[in-house]
């Protein structure tokens, strides 16, 4: 299988901050994603990975060399301007 061959597919790297970074020292983890999924769907999958509290409020920050980009949770991954290999911080 070659997941990235499909033009709708990408791999993103995410980390839940600040607890995970502070207590465990872990950095980004990889996840398969799709350009047509919503950023909220992506958030739910990330929270499932960490078994994190879904009742809390979270925001997404896209890390880029030029600086951070805040992205909203009600658009598709493509509309959010995400690219294969992007790093995403989920901040509680």
């Amino acid at each position: 299988m070659d997941y990235l061959k499909d033009e709708n597919h990408l791999i993103v790297w995410f980390v839940l901050r600040p607890e995970i970074e502070k207590e465990l020292g872990t950095s980004y983890l990889g996840m398969r994603a799709r350009y047509n999924m919503t950023t909220n769907e992506l958030l739910q999958e990330i929270l499932d990975t960490y078994k994190a509290d879904k009742d809390k409020n979270y925001r997404f920050v896209l890390k880029r060399a030029a600086g951070d980009m805040e992205i909203s949770l009600n658009q598709t991954v493509r509309e959010a301007g995400m690219r294969n290999g992007d790093c995403l911080q989920v901040i509680a």
């Binding site: 299988m1 070659d2 997941y3 990235l4 791999i11 790297w13 970074e21 502070k22 207590e23 465990l24 020292g25 872990t26 950095s27 980004y28 983890l29 990889g30 996840m31 398969r32 990975t49 960490y50 078994k51 890390k63 880029r64 060399a65 030029a66 690219r83 294969n84 290999g85 992007d86 790093c87």
Partner: protein
């Protein structure tokens, strides 16, 4: 005719052996010689610091091999494996086995590459000897593991494991990086940054630990290998000075290579810090003290002081490595602990004496790292990562090094190239990436391959098949079958009895 002295004899056997090509352009025979911008005016005056001709080399190496194999035979014949103080030591030996032996073989190829492409006889003799040394090391180490594999897990599919294990991408990337550089850069990478700066810290503290915990076999491996390293270090030093003295225009090129390869080698040696501080139950020295002794004192305060007259300064990120000495082994062990369920060597629950030693040696351990390792006390997989990690685009280690000035904040760096974001673990690796992004964007990224489905649709089973192991060879040491077998072996020999 007067009898020749050692120096004359050496010259007679090593000089005027090559010819200058008459039928082909020099640049076709040696296509890389001018590619790096290095200017050579009179390189024939350069001397191999050891001035060793082949007959002397063979005699000395033969004696060394004889001594090593005698120790190994005695260790094997006398149940040496059962007599170490704690079998978890062998998890560290597995780290060494998997990472260092393929690196030795790669160093063998690298030395042959340097000798082939630099038409200076003295360099050829030195690199030829070193190329054979590296092959000797690789074979001694394989012989060691062949015996150890009867007793310990993780080594039975050695060729497959060393080829495919994610952990091994770290040393492989280092040597492949050097092999795809020009011959002078490769010489600086291996002979200077790797050999001169770091091999003492690789072979001496870990071999001392081997002696302290009772692994005479490994101590002998360390000693016989390190006895060659002193010659390799002298080559690195001598080659560096030759390049600096040949022409002033070489100096900025050399400085750039020192900046790059110091950090490259330093990062690759991160796992050695855990071999010194964590795996041995008895530690003759800490990583921090070894770093102070071998790198700060000998290299930064000694060698680099001498190099100032050429206009050479300390490697660009030397200060960062000094700051990291308080954290290096703990951070690296933390990374290994998170992924011990998918590796060929196991992690282990720290014992009370471990906490005591680490706390005494490292003032920041209790505050920043002990709470992480304490989580293993009740569940050995409490720290298991719920996913696969992003790795540094340069050193290929999971990008989980904290900023040494702020240890609860990761040091991850971001670079943009060709419409993609690349991450690196530190300013040192970021600097290297941004000098040659086209080179580093091409790395084969094991984690991305895993997510991409290259190990099949059952990625866990696929991963273990790919690396030639089974899941019960990974995990935690004290709860493993390997530890149970070692205890039984000791009982069988009566070594479990206490007399005092």
């Amino acid at each position: 005719m007067a009898k020749m002295g050692i120096k004359e004899k050496y010259h007679a056997m090593t000089r005027d052996l090559m010819w200058e090509p008459k039928d082909f352009d020099m640049n076709r025979v040696y296509p890389l010689i001018e590619k790096e911008g290095i200017i050579l005016k009179n390189p024939s005056r350069w001397e191999d610091p050891f001035r060793m001709a082949y007959n002397q080399y063979v005699k000395i190496q033969s004696e060394k091999d004889g001594i090593y194999h005698a120790v190994r035979n005695a260790f094997e014949a006398n149940d040496g494996h059962a007599k170490v103080v704690d079998s978890r030591w062998y998890e560290g030996v597995k780290v060494f086995a998997n990472a260092v032996q393929p690196a030795e073989y790669s160093a063998h190829r690298l030395m042959a590459y340097v000798g082939r492409n630099i038409p200076i006889e003295a360099i050829r003799f030195a690199t030829f000897n070193q190329a054979i040394d590296e092959l000797r090391h690789a074979q001694i180490e394989i012989k060691h593991y062949a015996h150890m594999s009867k007793e310990i897990d993780g080594l039975h599919a050695f060729a497959n494991t060393s080829q495919n294990l994610w952990f091994n991408t770290v040393p492989k990337s280092f040597f492949d990086d050097a092999m795809t550089a020009g011959p002078f850069e490769a010489l600086m990478a291996i002979s200077f940054s790797f050999e001169y700066v770091f091999t003492n810290i690789l072979f001496l503290p870990f071999a001392s630990s081997a002696g302290a915990v009772g692994d005479e076999n490994f101590a002998a491996v360390g000693k016989t290998v390190q006895s060659d390293e002193s010659r390799h270090m002298a080559l690195g030093m001598s080659a560096l000075k030759m390049l600096l003295e040949e022409d002033d225009r070489n100096i900025p090129i050399i400085q750039g290579w020192l900046d790059k390869w110091y950090w490259r080698a330093y990062r690759m040696f991160s796992v050695v810090s855990t071999l010194v501080d964590y795996y041995p139950r008895i530690r003759p020295i800490s990583w921090k003290k070894a770093f102070e002794m071998y790198v700060e004192e000998q290299v930064f305060n000694g060698l680099f002081k001498d190099l100032r007259k050429y206009g050479i300064r300390l490697p660009k990120h030397a200060e960062d490595s000094i700051k990291e000495k308080e954290h290096y082994s703990h951070v690296t062990m933390r990374i290994l602990d998170q992924f011990k369920h998918a590796n060929m060597f196991r992690g282990f629950q720290l014992q009370p004496d471990d906490y005591e030693w680490l706390s005494n040696e490292y003032p920041l351990f209790d505050e920043y790292y002990a709470p992480f390792f304490r989580r293993n006390d009740h569940n050995v997989f409490a720290n298991a990562s719920p996913g696969v990690p992003a790795i540094c685009q340069v050193c290929q280690i999971p990008a989980e090094f904290p900023d040494p000035d702020n240890p609860t904040k990761l040091w991850t760096q971001y670079s943009e190239y060709n419409n993609k974001t690349y991450i690196t673990c530190s300013p040192g690796c970021k600097h290297i990436f941004e000098q040659e992004p086209f080179k580093y964007m091409q790395i084969w990224w094991p984690v991305e391959a895993y997510l991409n489905g290259e190990f099949g649709e059952d990625p866990v089973a696929g991963l273990f098949k790919y690396i030639g192991l089974s899941p019960n060879e990974a995990g935690e040491h004290y709860s493993s079958n390997e530890h149970a077998r070692w205890l039984e072996y000791r009982r069988h020999l009566g070594l479990d009895k206490k007399f005092f």
